[in-house]
Structure formats: structure tokens, C-alpha cells
């Protein structure tokens, strides 16, 4: 039964024991490692080859430049995005509703806030692994020009947390698995296409550019572009602040949604 019940203070922070949840996910992943690793390994590689080298031969960018170099920073942002989103939508839903894993966990000293932290940590782990992998590919294809690019990794963690939290917030709030599909069409796909990844956002109509500002990965891509080329501007600090603020907000909202759902 869906119920409006007072569930306590607005901000509930997890305990350090949330790692137990993360460790459980690692145990499960170990038994499924090979089958799970295929998609995240193959997709970015194919995209680099097909779009970067295939389509790239026909693309002329304003100001010159290699198309592979243009899409690389965006790729490092969006493929991890898919990882975080999958982990915290379909997989989380399955654990929550079908397996009742969350219900088992909250019978122990862990609460819904710890489950949320564990899920977000796991989504971030998936996302970070993907980021490292796509980065390695970008380096291999000669797309990285600056040693500052190593700073992509800490930003990737922040990116992972933000996207996992956003996805989990959504998952914990909807009443059926059918609704999860909306997150992909209205949330994830625009991130993939409107975030200044495959073509300059400046070529889009103004309305879509404004919309792009609200797309989380737009800001990640902006930071990565700076780090890849070494051309950093103050605006990227603004992007970092955006990620941190939105990430923190989504984390709290995801916790709140899970508490409301589980503590009935």
C-alpha cells in the first residue's frame, strides 16, 4: 500500500556500515562478471571506431581538429552514465521489488539510508570502471593532449555519484517497473545526445542549449574537455559546483525516497 507516513527528519545520513551493501553487490558481480563485462567493454569501442574513425572522416569541425578528439571527452562522460543508470534503475528495482533484498537489509542495523548509500556507491563503482576503461581507450587513440586529464578520475567519481543518486531517486519513487522506461527516454537519452558529446551544443537551437544546461552530463563533458586539452577556464569551476550541488541534492532525495518506500 502506498502511504503518506511521517518518516522522520529530512536529512538522514548513512552509517559507515553501508559498505556491507556494497560488498554484497561485489559478491554478486563476481559470479556474473563475464556476462556483465561484455556490454561496457564493447559499446565504447564500437562507438569510437564507427563514429570517431568512420563518420569522423566526413566531419569537418569549425576550427579544424580531429573528430575522434572531439568526441573523446564526451565519451568518457556518457558511457559511465549508462553504467550508473542501469545499476540504479533496472538492477536496483529488481533488488528492491522482486528479490526483496532491501527488506532483508533493513531488518539489520542498516537502514534505508545505508541501502541508498550502498546502491549509489555501487553505481559509482560501475561508472568509475567504465570511465577508466574509456579513458584508456581515448589515450590509446591519441585523443588526450594534456596531463591534466588524470584529474578526470576524481571528477568521474562525482559524476558517478550524481547519476547513481538521480537514478536511484527515480527508481525509489515510481510504483511500477513500467515507469522505469521513462527515465531512459526522458532522462538518459537526452544526456547522451544533448550534452555536447557528439556535436557542438552551440549548433543547437537556443532552447535546446538552455535545456542542455540542466542535463547533468553537459557539465561533466565541459570539465573533461578542459582537462583533455589543458584549456581550463573559470566556467569549469562552475560546472564542478553544479555537479557537487546536484549530486548532494540527489543523494538526499534518493535517501528520502527509499525511506518513504521501505519504512511503511
Amino acid at each position: 500500500m502506498a502511504v503518506r507516513v511521517a518518516f522522520g527528519p529530512v536529512i538522514v545520513l548513512p552509517s559507515l556500515r553501508f559498505w556491507g551493501v556494497w560488498q554484497r553487490h561485489v559478491d554478486v558481480a563476481r559470479s556474473r562478471f563475464l556476462s556483465q563485462a561484455v556490454m561496457p567493454a564493447v559499446e565504447p569501442l564500437i562507438t569510437f571506431l564507427v563514429l570517431g574513425f568512420g563518420l569522423g572522416r566526413f566531419v569537418e569541425l569549425e576550427g579544424g581538429g580531429d573528430y575522434v578528439k572531439f568526441i573523446a571527452p564526451g565519451m568518457v562522460a556518457v558511457f559511465p552514465m549508462w553504467q550508473a543508470v542501469f545499476a540504479c534503475t533496472w538492477e536496483a528495482w529488481f533488488r528492491m521489488e522482486n528479490q526483496r533484498t532491501y527488506h532483508a537489509i533493513i531488518a539489520t542495523p542498516l537502514g534505508p539510508e545505508d541501502v541508498a548509500a550502498g546502491e549509489i556507491a555501487w553505481g559509482t563503482t560501475h561508472s568509475l570502471l567504465s570511465a577508466v576503461y574509456v579513458m584508456a581507450m581515448a589515450v590509446a587513440f591519441g585523443a588526450v593532449d594534456s596531463p591534466l586529464a588524470v584529474l578526470v578520475l576524481p571528477v568521474a567519481i562525482l559524476n558517478g555519484v550524481m547519476l547513481s543518486a538521480l537514478s536511484l531517486w527515480y527508481t525509489a519513487s515510481v510504483s511500477s517497473s513500467n515507469a522505469l522506461g521513462y527515465f531512459f527516454t526522458i532522462g538518459a537519452l537526452p544526456m547522451f545526445w544533448l550534452g555536447n558529446v557528439f556535436f557542438p551544443a552551440s549548433s543547437l537551437p537556443q532552447a535546446l542549449q538552455t535545456l542542455g544546461w540542466f542535463v547533468p552530463t553537459t557539465h561533466t563533458v565541459a570539465i573533461y574537455r578542459g582537462l583533455f586539452t589543458g584549456d581550463l577556464a573559470w566556467s569549469q569551476l562552475g560546472d564542478l559546483a553544479w555537479l557537487a550541488a546536484v549530486g548532494a541534492f540527489c543523494f538526499l532525495m534518493a535517501t528520502r525516497a527509499l525511506r518513504r518506500r521501505l519504512l511503511v
Binding site: V5, A6, R17, S31, R32, Q99, H103, A104, T108, P109
Partner: protein, 307 residues
């Protein structure tokens, strides 16, 4: 009051629906206490409040002397929970399920390892430690859930319908294991709608119906007080009940109840309805048997436990 459970005026409301309507409960340390009642009686809602996974709407509830409203984490660290559905991890083996659960309590690795061995041995699952969950029978899954609930060496075990859905043999094995745990001094609280389970395991119990307590006491006390020693059962079509009931009531100091396709006759003031067995006219199936908790429930609520 330390140890056990103390509840006063406990209420649970879901919107306008009252699941638990102001109950008082005392569970003493070391005893096996039962909540007996049909589906919808409020047993699971009560248990969930005790396990601190459901916020209480009103009233007072102390578990092991701690208030559920403020000390939930500490309470959960001391409880062992055996839920109604087996929410095991299907992607993990038997042993991995136990290990993952032990980690939620923040137990050190060596303690977890030791408790896994103890739990598997106690619940007779040692040779299944590497099995996946879908390879286990219903009874084994249940035993695994019980083993899991012992990982934190709880002072109190809470079981929600521990043998529902199990075949009679699996049920016996589970009861035997629970009696063993009881023998070790573990306080137990269980809910059930099977009167044999309540009679077999519980030292004391409450009978719940529609969110309220209708009776409490030990199984023997309840049966003696509300159902007498023997019960006469007459199986007859519902159409034949009315004249049959009237006839039986005329024959002596008896209470007669009718439910489904059976008429039950209870004795009052120590009189046994057994003598009526030979006196009933008509082609009915007549049985005389010992009174049990189901009869108590029927007498008190007019309903069958099995509904």
C-alpha cells in the same frame, strides 16, 4: 524493564485502515511467545513494529528495554529476524548469503566465519554450503533464513509464520530446530495461523483478530478456559445445520458453533460432549477429539483460523 518486549496501547494505522488496534503485550526473556490469528489479524504489522521496520502510529513499545522510536539500530542489532518471505539473495550461494548478512552487522571476518559454521551445522545445511538458492527445497530455504537470522547471535528471535508453505515433514524439521534453540534459552516471538505450531512451540500466546487481542494465556489455559477438554464434530451440509444445532443444544449443557460444513459441540462446566456421539440421528460423519486452539478461536470470534 530489560529483556523481552513491552507494549502498551500499540496502534498501527495505514491511512484510515487500522491494522493493530491498541494492544498490550508482555514477552518475558527466555520464553517462546506466540501471536495466533487468521490472515489480516494484525500479526505481521505487530511484528514489523517490533523489528523496527515499520514506524508505530501510537502507543508504547520497548524491545529489550529500548524504545523503538529512538533506539532502532540498537534493537535491530540484538534481534534475529525470520521474515515471512524468504528474501534470500538468489545470486549468491548458501554460504555467501550468510556472509553478506553477517557484514550488515559489522561483524569481524573471523566471527562471521565461525558463525557460518555454527549456523550451517545447527540447521543441517553444512553439505549445501555451496549450493545456489534455486537448488534448495522450500524447507531448506526456510532453514537457511533461520540460520541467517542467527548470524548476529541475537538475544531474541522474531519469526513471522515460520512454516507457512512447507510440507509436513519440512515443518517438523523446522519445529525441532526451533525447540533446540528454545532449549538454549533464546527468547522467541512467533506469529502463526497454525494452531499446532502455537500449541507445539509457545509457552504463552495471544490470539488476535481484526487488530485486537481476544485472549491470552498458555495454550493449555486457553483451551481449558474456552473450549473444554473434548469436542464433538459433526460434518453436515450447511442446510442441515440449523435443526441439528437446535437439537444438540437441547440435549444438555453444551455450546454449539457452526462453521463451514462442520458443527462443533463444546462442553460447559467440565461436561464432555462425547456421550452425544452415539445419539445423533442421521447420516452424518461424527468425530470426538481433544479440544485445541482452533476451537478457542472459533468460540471467541465465530470464525475459523483458516479463513
Amino acid at each position: 524493564m530489560t529483556g523481552g518486549i513491552h507494549a502498551r496501547g500499540l496502534v498501527k494505522r495505514f491511512g484510515s485502515y487500522v491494522a493493530v488496534d491498541g494492544i498490550d503485550l508482555e514477552v518475558r526473556s527466555g520464553e517462546c511467545f506466540g501471536l495466533l490469528g487468521p490472515n489480516g489479524a494484525g500479526k505481521t504489522s505487530t511484528i514489523r513494529m517490533i523489528c523496527c521496520v515499520s514506524p508505530i502510529t501510537a502507543g508504547e513499545l520497548l524491545v529489550d528495554g529500548l524504545d523503538v522510536r529512538t533506539r532502532a539500530r540498537e534493537i535491530k542489532a540484538r534481534l534475529g529476524v525470520v521474515p515471512q518471505d524468504d528474501n534470500l539473495d538468489p545470486d549468491l550461494t548458501v554460504e555467501q548469503n550468510l556472509r553478506a548478512y553477517g557484514r550488515y552487522f559489522g561483524l569481524p571476518r573471523d566471527i562471521i566465519a565461525a558463525r557460518i559454521e555454527e549456523g550451517l551445522a545447527l540447521l543441517q545445511l553444512s553439505d549445501r554450503r555451496a549450493s545456489r538458492i534455486d537448488e534448495l527445497s522450500g524447507g531448506m530455504k526456510r532453514r537457511l533464513v533461520i540460520a541467517r537470522s542467527l548470524m548476529n547471535a541475537p538475544s531474541m528471535l522474531v519469526l513471522d509464520e515460520p512454516t507457512t508453505g512447507l510440507d509436513p515433514q519440512a515443518r517438523q524439521v523446522v519445529w525441532q530446530r526451533l525447540r533446540l534453540l528454545k532449549g538454549r534459552g533464546l527468547t522467541m516471538l512467533l506469529t502463526t495461523h497454525y494452531m499446532e505450531e502455537a500449541a507445539n512451540l509457545c509457552d504463552r500466546l495471544i490470539i488476535m483478530n481484526r487488530g485486537r487481542i481476544v485472549a491470552q494465556g498458555s495454550p493449555a489455559e486457553l483451551v481449558a478456559a474456552h473450549a473444554g477438554r473434548d469436542v464433538l464434530e459433526v460434518q453436515a451440509d450447511p442446510e442441515a445445520h440449523q435443526p441439528l444445532v437446535a437439537d444438540l443444544q437441547r440435549r444438555g449443557n453444551f455450546e454449539v458453533e457452526s462453521s463451514g460444513d462442520t458443527v462443533y459441540v463444546f462442553g460447559r462446566d467440565g461436561e464432555s460432549p462425547a456421550r452425544l456421539a452415539g445419539e445423533i440421528v442421521g447420516n452424518f460423519r461424527v468425530t470426538v477429539r481433544q479440544a485445541n486452539l482452533e476451537d478457542v478461536f472459533l468460540r471467541l470470534t465465530g470464525r475459523s483460523l483458516k479463513e
